[in-house]
């Protein structure tokens, strides 16, 4: 039997379970086959391990000179600084000089990768590529059109009147002087006819256009006729039957260390013991969400059925809470793939603690907005919940960790008699258009990011 061929087939899921078992036995008994297995597997493992960075690696144009080598120690110290102080690193690769067609007028909390255009605020931009991995950046084209780029996005600046969105999301604001301004994607060409509009596209080319004001004309690769889209409408162009963009976002590996305060602290996540997490959406379009990898949260006065709240329950059995010194809630912010950051302000969230035992006993399998009763009242009754703390996520801020703590929060944890404590997460700020961003946090079902976690400082743990 040719086990060398088995190895390759095992990498792509092409072996039957029986063949896989036979391969395992053969590898155990044959050192030479084992060598071959490790060799082939290693390339595959490197590609898997670096999956996230592949687009940046592969899409870098050939003529760009490699980035100057940064001395490892300086880079590591800088990386540590990012985690510890939240500072941003700006890396850019000097490209060829080209006539300036646009200006980078604003760069909020930005982190860039593989861009061949300068990425400092105020920089003049010629034709070239901007790759934004975190934050939000605004570019004003010489024609007067402004385009706000939301991470993660890759945009190619072409001329004063056109650009190409390789992947990601942009919102364009186009004055009369720039009518005819064009945003190209793999699947469609969006031509402005006096508007404000948003375009998103996935790396595979699925593209959406949303028109907030005015009108755009859309040429699609697979449709002979141009289509006009007016304010309040959208147009979607999908490539085959492919997963939703949200599915592509759930693959970010982050060291959890930035959220580990150190020895003396114990972590209890929603995945611990009888912990639970879920979100509810008015209208319950998707049924119970207990097994969803993201906890979505949104507040809006414009589209009531997009209102969402998240619920978290932590099993604190065995934790000596009377002696609790300090505590914090750590959440990992993840891209929801829904809505535009440009259309929400810096967002404020409130954390409430549930004090009504019956209400706190919600179940992951059947919790819906409809059945959530007092949990989804516009103003939470003080009979069922106490406001413990709030936090802010700034517009376009990176998908990092948020940490929430307050004296009221620690008091609440100390004094609740039940072993399971439940929290509810509400966004208090709204949006300026109903396509505004839906915030999301990793749930315990998230494949890579850490679940919502309570860090508790108790004196008996040294």
């Amino acid at each position: 039997m040719n086990f060398h061929d088995h190895i390759d087939r095992s990498l792509d899921g092409q072996l039957s379970p029986e063949e896989w078992d036979a391969l395992q036995r053969a590898v155990i008994g044959d050192p030479e086959l084992c060598r071959d297995y490790v060799e082939k597997r290693w390339i595959h493992a490197l590609l898997e391990a670096e999956g996230d960075t592949l687009p940046a690696l592969l899409e870098e144009p050939q003529w760009v000179k490699p980035a100057p080598v940064i001395r490892p120690v300086a880079w590591l110290a800088a990386a540590a600084a990012v985690v510890f102080f939240g500072a941003s690193i700006v890396l850019f690769v000097q490209g060829r000089p080209a006539p300036v067609v646009a200006t980078l007028i604003e760069a909020e909390n930005c982190r860039w990768a593989g861009s061949d255009l300068p990425t400092v605020e105020g920089a003049g931009l010629g034709a070239g590529t901007l790759a934004l991995t975190e934050g939000m950046a605004t570019i004003r084209f010489k024609s007067g059109a402004t385009v706000t780029l939301e991470a993660p996005s890759v945009l190619e600046v072409e001329s004063a009147m056109s650009c190409r969105l390789v992947e990601g999301s942009v919102v364009a604001d186009v004055p009369e002087s720039a009518h005819g301004f064009t945003i190209d994607t793999a699947k469609m060409e969006v031509i402005d006819l006096g508007t404000r509009f948003g375009v998103t596209t996935t790396p595979l080319g699925d593209s959406n256009v949303f028109v907030f004001e005015g009108e755009v004309k859309v040429n699609r690769e697979d449709h002979p006729e141009a289509k006009h889209v007016f304010a309040g409408s959208s147009l979607v162009s999908k490539v085959g039957a492919l997963p939703e963009p949200a599915d592509q976002e759930v693959r970010r590996v982050e060291p959890p260390s930035s959220s580990s305060p150190g020895p003396g602290w114990t972590a209890v996540s929603t995945a611990t013991g009888r912990g639970r997490d879920a979100y509810v959406r008015r209208g319950d379009a998707h049924g119970p969400t207990g097994d969803h990898p993201l906890l979505m949260v949104k507040h809006t006065d414009l589209a009531p059925n997009n209102e969402r709240r998240a619920l978290l329950s932590f099993d604190l059995a065995g934790v000596d809470r009377a002696a609790l010194g300090s505590a914090k809630l750590v959440l990992k912010v993840e891209p929801s793939g829904l809505g535009f950051s440009s259309l929400v302000p810096d967002s404020r969230f409130a954390v409430y603690g549930l004090i009504d035992e019956a209400v706190a006993a919600w179940k992951e399998t059947d919790l819906t907005w409809e059945a959530a009763g007092p949990l989804v009242e516009e103003t939470l009754s003080t009979n069922i919940a106490t406001r413990l703390a709030d936090f802010e996520i700034r517009k376009g801020s990176p998908n990092g960790f948020v940490e929430v703590s307050s004296d009221a929060f620690v008091d609440f944890l100390r004094s609740r008699p039940d072993e399971i404590v439940s929290l509810i997460l509400v966004r208090e700020t709204g949006e300026s258009d109903q396509q505004g961003l839906v915030h999301a946090f990793a749930s315990k079902e998230h494949p890579t990011a850490p679940a919502p976690t309570l860090w508790l400082q108790t004196p008996d743990v040294q």
């Binding site: 490790v38 493992a45 590609l47 670096e50 592969l58 590591l76 800088a78 500072a87 020895p263 890579t448």
Partner: protein, 184 residues
């Protein structure tokens, strides 16, 4: 805020900072190790995640100056065995302990030659023709399986599989020849 002042390369004294520095240096190699031993990609990522947490919790036991990657691999290997026992979901291929031990021993044996491959791979990836890069992205960035890629690229599954094995073989050859031609 952009930080343009270079940070002085002092050696970190804070354990958290030291941990991050070491993790940063060896993270790729550790990730490749776990992915090499765990056939299921999502499992591998879960394990890597919990491994980093365990490493941090046990960091007090790490002797500064000793081989961080070797220490990390030991912890990872335990996590892999534990995960296998506690797995709620059965992956397509699950690896037997004796198999894991044989493969881990072989990785340890050739660890020096493997650890240089990551950099070389980056160079080799850039040399792939456009259509092959696209396939690499579909398979390893989008994490599509063979049948999804076949639909997407309008090829048969057998053709996609053949092409992917050819790409991996070409990458392997390219990586090895680069490492041979550069001074060790």
């Amino acid at each position: 805020m952009e930080d343009s002042t270079p940070i002085p390369p002092t050696s970190p004294t804070d354990p958290a900072e030291l941990y991050l520095v070491l993790l940063n240096e060896h993270e790729r190699a550790l990730a490749a190790y776990v992915h090499a031993l765990v056939p299921d990609r999502l499992d591998a990522e879960d394990i890597l995640q919990s491994c980093k947490l365990t490493m941090w919790k046990q960091f007090a036991n790490f002797e500064p100056g000793s081989h961080f990657l070797a220490w990390a691999r030991k912890i990872a290997f335990h996590q892999i065995l534990n995960h296998r026992r506690g797995a709620k979901r059965k992956p397509l291929y699950s690896a037997e302990p004796a198999f894991l031990e044989a493969v881990a021993a072989e990785i340890d044996r050739v660890s020096d030659s493997l650890s240089d491959r990551s950099e070389a791979l980056h160079e080799c990836l850039r040399r792939l023709p456009e259509n092959q890069r696209r396939l690499v992205l579909l398979r390893y960035y989008e994490d599509h399986d063979i049948s999804a890629i076949a639909r997407e690229t309008q090829r048969t599954e057998a053709a996609v599989y053949k092409l992917l094995s050819r790409i991996r073989a070409a990458l392997n050859d390219c990586v090895k020849s680069r490492l041979e031609s550069s001074p060790a």
